[in-house]
């Protein structure tokens, strides 16, 4: 039942989550008496040594510890943003798809308008004026600007589900609208919602990392993207600190890989037509 791709994908995500949660609890034990995340604890930009496997960063903190903490921060941004965008997107997409006609047209125009506005730069502008600027607010902002794609796919899905025979059956059985929504449509929608959530999460992590790379996105505690950006813009390769650039990139790639594996695995499970054609003919 559970195929290969799905397993690997879920395992990778689990590994990441475990590292993010448990990591910050374990790492202090490797540095007895010191705080490796304290600014200025060690000389800045040190080369890798047995004590600091990846060297130290520009503010004198141990790179490995910072990266592990960074996973947690990046995940928070991703999850918060993903939740936000999925929530808004599913609700609006659902209304557009289910109610139809006038509302649908108006909502579709609205969704297109928001889809077309480039979110990343505007996000950064807003970030300058928010008083309490931290990880959560960044995640929320990312989510607010990226729900349009989710809305679009949800709407398409709802449109196709609406015409299925079991919905007609439910209508014939005089089920109320609310009942139809919750008992027939939403379960069919669930896999897509989960996929959208995962996709949005990863997309937000990506976006944040990309922004840190070009140097915008100031003022947050070091996320993976920030470490990567500082390493690239600070000449880490010439200094011999390859790890500080490659490891965060590798972790991000791992996350995307895991997501896509889950995606493909779920698709093969839920979409028998594709599997059939791919395997038989």
């Amino acid at each position: 039942m559970i195929n290969f791709k799905l397993t690997i994908g879920i395992l990778l995500i689990a590994l990441l989550l475990v590292t993010a949660i448990v990591g910050p609890l374990i790492t202090p034990h490797f540095f007895p008496g010191e705080d490796p995340t304290e600014v200025g604890a060690y000389p800045t930009l040190d080369l890798p040594s047995p004590k600091h496997p990846l060297g130290t960063d520009i503010l004198g903190r141990d790179a490995v510890v910072i990266i592990i903490n960074g996973i947690r921060l990046s995940l928070i941004i991703g999850v918060v943003g993903g939740f936000m965008s999925t929530l808004i997107g599913v609700i609006l997409g659902f209304i557009a798809g289910y109610v139809g006609k006038r509302t649908d047209t108006i909502l579709r125009i609205f969704i297109d308008m928001v889809l077309v506005i480039p979110i990343l730069p505007l996000l950064l502008l807003l970030s300058l004026y928010i008083p309490k600027w931290n990880i959560f607010t960044m995640g929320i902002l990312l989510g607010i600007f990226s729900w349009a794609f989710v809305a679009r796919t949800t709407r398409a899905q709802v449109l196709s589900l609406r015409e299925r025979s079991y919905v007609d059956l439910a209508r014939l059985n005089n089920e109320g609208t609310l009942e139809i929504i919750f008992e027939e449509l939403l379960p069919g929608l669930l896999p897509y919602v989960i996929l959208s959530l995962a996709g949005a999460t990863v997309g937000n992590m990506l976006a944040e990392a990309g922004l840190q790379l070009i140097g915008i996105g100031a003022g947050l505690p070091p996320t993976l993207g920030s470490i990567m950006g500082r390493a690239y813009n600070g000449g880490a390769l010439s200094l011999g600190l390859y790890g500080q650039l490659l490891i965060p990139a590798g972790i991000l790639i791992m996350v995307f890989l895991a997501l896509n594996l889950i995606n493909m695995g779920l698709e093969e499970r839920f979409n028998p037509r594709l599997r059939q054609y791919a395997e038989e003919r």
């Binding site: 889809l115 730069p121 502008l125 990309g210 650039l245 493909m264």
Partner: protein, 367 residues
């Protein structure tokens, strides 16, 4: 459908009564005309809505570009430069920024529509106007990204069709796995990997700048063009690699879904060779949604544009945008955003209007 069937009952021409009016001539095309009009109407509304949204957003942001600029001036030159706030106020008056938002909006619309895209003055490049700044650097963005997108689409479509046709041969699984991995990788990671590997370690290719710094642009000189192309290899290749992967996979799944159709079975049964079936029937029909996805993709790359232009040092509109952000130059940011909005929507419109001519099915189905 009913309407058209009814028109079949009616004789087209009654030699005695037929008058060659425009209305009679146009009648069979009415659904198409209605579709075009409706689509265009939606386009106009969406453009207007997005433009207004962007305008409101940029003009209601706090932070006054002139006070930033002149505070910096004051800091460096106490005593040498006029009082910052007074000069800032003078500039604001000069540029019409002290008017209420609605009046500014009217002026803005007038400037854009009637005065030929005058997007207002640019604060950081004063006195050059926004229009000059953006259009001077726009050709680079178009040249790099649109070309890369078109090439990616071309390669991706061909390769995807091949993969879809071949289904489950040996190397297709490998190719699909690679394409999947590439598709989800953000372009900037590949870009940085390319810079590090090819530019830094092996030093095979130049890693940035549109052409060698010593050359002056001379588009009649073949050496100059060669230099531009050489510098473009790395950026364009990274983009083609990633975007091509997603086009490949899209085309492949379209191909697979088309392969299940009945008319292919019929074509095979007729005895046509596999090559002809692939080319004329399968490929052709899978192409249509693929063209749609090209239209969508062409418009949606502004985010990638920003990051890639910063990494590869391409003098396009992404770089302008980033610098405008640092100094809160609203007009430039607004201009870039407006440009991208209008481009995306227009391309979508063109694709939507172009498709009915490609696929007669759509003509009858009125969206």
């Amino acid at each position: 459908m009913e309407r058209n069937l009814k028109s079949l009952d009616k004789p087209d021409r009654n030699p005695a009564q037929f008058r060659s009016t425009l209305r009679n001539k146009l009648q069979p095309y009415t659904p198409v005309i209605m579709y075009i009009l409706r689509r265009f109407g939606i386009y106009l509304i969406t453009v207007w809505g997005a433009v207004t949204l962007a305008f409101i957003f940029f003009h209601s942001m706090p932070g006054d570009p002139f006070s930033i600029i002149f505070s910096a001036l004051e800091r460096e030159n106490i005593g040498r430069v006029t009082g910052g706030p007074e000069v800032a106020a003078a500039y604001k008056r000069m540029l019409g920024l002290d008017q209420p938002l609605f009046i500014q909006y009217i002026f803005f619309l007038r400037n854009v529509l009637i005065r030929g895209f005058d997007l207002g003055p640019s604060f950081i490049n004063f006195p050059q106007g926004t229009r000059e700044v953006i259009f001077r650097q726009l050709p680079w963005t178009i040249g790099y990204f649109t070309t890369a997108m078109l090439i990616a689409w071309g390669i991706g479509t061909l390769f995807g069709a091949l993969l879809g046709w071949m289904r489950r041969k040996g190397f297709t699984s490998v190719a699909i796995a690679i394409a999947t991995l590439l598709q989800i990788t953000p372009v900037y990671i590949i870009a940085i990997a390319a810079i590090i590997l090819l530019g830094y370690q092996l030093q095979w290719l130049p890693t940035g700048q549109p052409y060698d710094p010593g050359l002056m642009p001379n588009w009649r000189d073949w050496n100059f063009i060669k230099n531009v192309l050489w510098h473009a290899v790395m950026p364009v290749s990274s983009m083609v690699l990633i975007w091509g992967a997603s086009f490949t996979l899209g085309m492949r799944s379209l191909m697979i879904s088309v392969l299940g159709e009945d008319y292919l079975t019929y074509a095979n049964a007729k005895g046509l060779s596999p090559a002809i079936v692939l080319r004329d029937y399968a490929f052709r029909n899978a192409l249509l949604p693929q063209v749609t996805s090209l239209g969508i993709a062409l418009g949606g790359t502004i985010n990638g544009v920003l990051i890639l232009e910063a990494i590869f040092v391409i003098p396009g509109i992404g770089g302008i945008f980033i610098r405008a952000m640092a100094l809160h130059d609203f007009n430039v940011m607004q201009g870039v955003v407006l440009l991208s909005i209008v481009t995306v929507l227009t391309l979508g419109l063109i694709v939507d209007l172009f498709l009915p001519f490609l696929d007669p099915r759509i003509r009858r189905l009125n969206d």
